[in-house]
């Protein structure tokens, strides 16, 4: 075993040992009579969730394995993601900037993580065209992540010299103060393209409609279903739900990432079959199948 691997194994073993020591001491320290101690290491009421998660993980990992072996994987065209390149091209022709809004949530939201991944890809594309990329951010924790994602994008395109750190700006963690500030950026700087990708709430229509009034091409994407109608009416292209999460695989075309996309599609197919089967059985008065999916 080489030195590097030995260090890695040692670090993991140390963390695991400390962890179990903490678990045992934390259980002893729990002295509140109001909270009875539970010594079970697995909640059998959630076994069905565990199995479902195992199936989903298994499908994703299997397809990643297939992708690593060089199998080509087909992914359907997603108009919204193709439009990102088009939007950047339009901004270049007009000599204007691209505004990237990564949603209003913190890094603990998976949509923000997905948005940062897309930001890196977008930054790589933009770096080639030498136009400004403005990224206004609501949550301070996202700022260094966005800076690093954009820096890495520019670096991958060999244009680290064009990276402007001040274009990644913390605005305010207040929802409507953020919306007002970003609307102001849209109206003053008149970006040619607005990319609204991430988790949005009430400010989604404010941003999208203000962007539409400036004549910018707008691509939006969110998994927050209640905001989708506003993006659909106000934006040129909308990524719906999972299309946002598919973006990293779609834009990079990296086999491992495409494999994970296929894996989640397989899991979706299994769920669809379960729904159809459950509907038929439930209609026929057979209840045991539906009961398998009750989460306690």
């Amino acid at each position: 075993m080489n030195k590097r691997k030995f260090c890695l194994v040692a670090v993991i073993a140390l963390i695991a040992l400390n962890f179990f020591a903490l678990v045992l001491s934390a259980q002893e320290a729990s002295t509140s009579p109001a909270t009875p101690s539970d010594s079970r290491w697995f909640d059998t009421n959630r076994f069905n969730v565990f199995i479902t998660l195992a199936i989903v993980f298994g499908a994703i990992l299997w397809f990643i394995g297939r992708a690593k072996k060089g199998k080509s994987l087909f992914v359907r065209r997603i108009a919204g993601l193709d439009a990102i390149e088009e939007a950047v091209g339009r901004a270049t022709e007009m000599g204007k900037s691209v505004l990237y809004i990564p949603g209003i949530h913190d890094m603990n939201d998976i949509q923000t993580v997905a948005s940062m991944i897309i930001l890196g890809n977008v930054a790589k594309t933009i770096a080639r065209y030498d136009i400004p990329l403005i990224v206004p951010i609501r949550m301070p924790f996202v700022v260094p992540v966005a800076e690093e994602a954009v820096r890495q994008g520019y670096s991958s395109a060999g244009r680290l010299d064009a990276f402007v750190k001040d274009n990644i700006r913390f605005i305010s963690d207040e929802q409507f103060a953020y919306a007002a500030a970003v609307s102001g950026i849209m109206l003053r700087e008149r970006p040619a393209a607005n990319l609204l990708l991430g988790s949005f709430y009430a400010e989604s229509l404010l941003l999208a409609e203000t962007g539409a009034s400036t004549g910018a091409i707008q691509v939006a994407g969110t998994a927050n279903i209640h905001q989708l109608p506003f993006f659909i009416v106000a934006c040129d292209y909308t990524l719906i739900g999972e299309e946002l999460f598919a973006a990293s695989a779609y834009l990079s075309r990296e086999p491992k990432l495409l494999g994970s996309l296929k894996g989640s599609d397989l899991a979706k197919a299994v769920i669809v079959l379960a729904i159809i089967l459950g509907t038929i059985l439930e209609t026929a008065g057979v209840k045991w199948f539906t009961k398998l999916f009750i989460v306690q």
Binding site: C7, V11, I12, I15, S25, A26, Q27, E28, A29, S30, T35, S37, R40, W41, F42, V49, F50, L53, V56, F57, I60, I110, V113, A114, I117, M139, P140, F141, V143, V145, A149, R151, Q152, R169, F170, D173, Q175, A177, A180, A202, L206, A208, E209, I225, P229, F230, I232, G241, E242, E243, L244, F245, A246, K256, L257, S260, L261, G263, S264, K268
Partner: protein, 206 residues
């Protein structure tokens, strides 16, 4: 090790919290509660990053007297003013901070939210043009739900609210659930890629 250590931390933390959902062991739950507490503290400290970012960017622009630099001076002054009166005067009811909050921030926030009523009108006017069959379905359904969800719908037709509830409770819900399931699977897939280190773009490393 610069690349590996963050990935190890991500891997262990990710699987720890997945495990927390399945493991009811008191000791384990107590550790999860402690880690959650650390997360709250770290999140609170991240505001220092945010304030630093605001000050750095605006200070440069003020120093260079760029366009609208006066507005940036006001921004920075307001930042320090509210910070100061909050720290030294407290934020309880009756404090100066509370007065500014109730009399400036609250009305401004309500104003921004109120803009939505106008923006939805202009967006609907622009977008609901019946160019295709899908556009027609979208426009007709939107109009039916809009009218059915307010008392005037019940005045026009007594069963309008029930019809609207049916649209919201059956076809709308079916479509929504489908999107929810897809989005949830996408989220699981992204989470798994991040935890296992397959996806590292967010870390700024290839």
């Amino acid at each position: 090790m610069r690349k590996e250590v963050p990935l190890i931390i991500t891997f262990l933390a990710g699987f720890f919290f997945i495990a927390d959902y399945f493991i009811p062991h008191t000791g384990f739950s107590n550790i999860a509660a402690d880690v959650n507490g650390w997360a709250i503290i770290v999140l609170a400290f991240s505001y220092i990053l945010g304030v630093g970012n605001v000050l750095r960017i605006n200070a440069q622009r003020i120093a260079k007297k760029e366009k609208d630099w006066v507005l940036k001076v006001i921004l920075v002054l307001c930042l320090f003013f509210m910070l100061g009166i909050g720290i030294f005067g407290g934020i309880a009811e009756g404090s100066i901070f509370d007065w500014f909050f109730v009399n400036t921030y609250t009305p401004m926030q309500a104003t921004m939210f109120a803009l939505l009523a106008f923006f939805i009108a202009s967006a609907a006017f622009r977008a609901f043009r019946v160019r295709t069959t899908q556009a027609a379905l979208l426009a007709i359904t939107a109009v039916l739900v809009m009218i059915g969800r307010v008392p005037i719908g019940e005045t026009i037709w007594k069963s309008f609210p029930d019809f609207t509830e049916w649209i919201m409770g059956v076809p709308q819900l079916a479509g929504k659930r489908a999107i929810l399931i897809g989005a949830a699977l996408g989220a699981i897939s992204t989470g798994l890629k991040v935890i296992t280190g397959l996806e590292r773009t967010y870390m700024g490393q290839d």
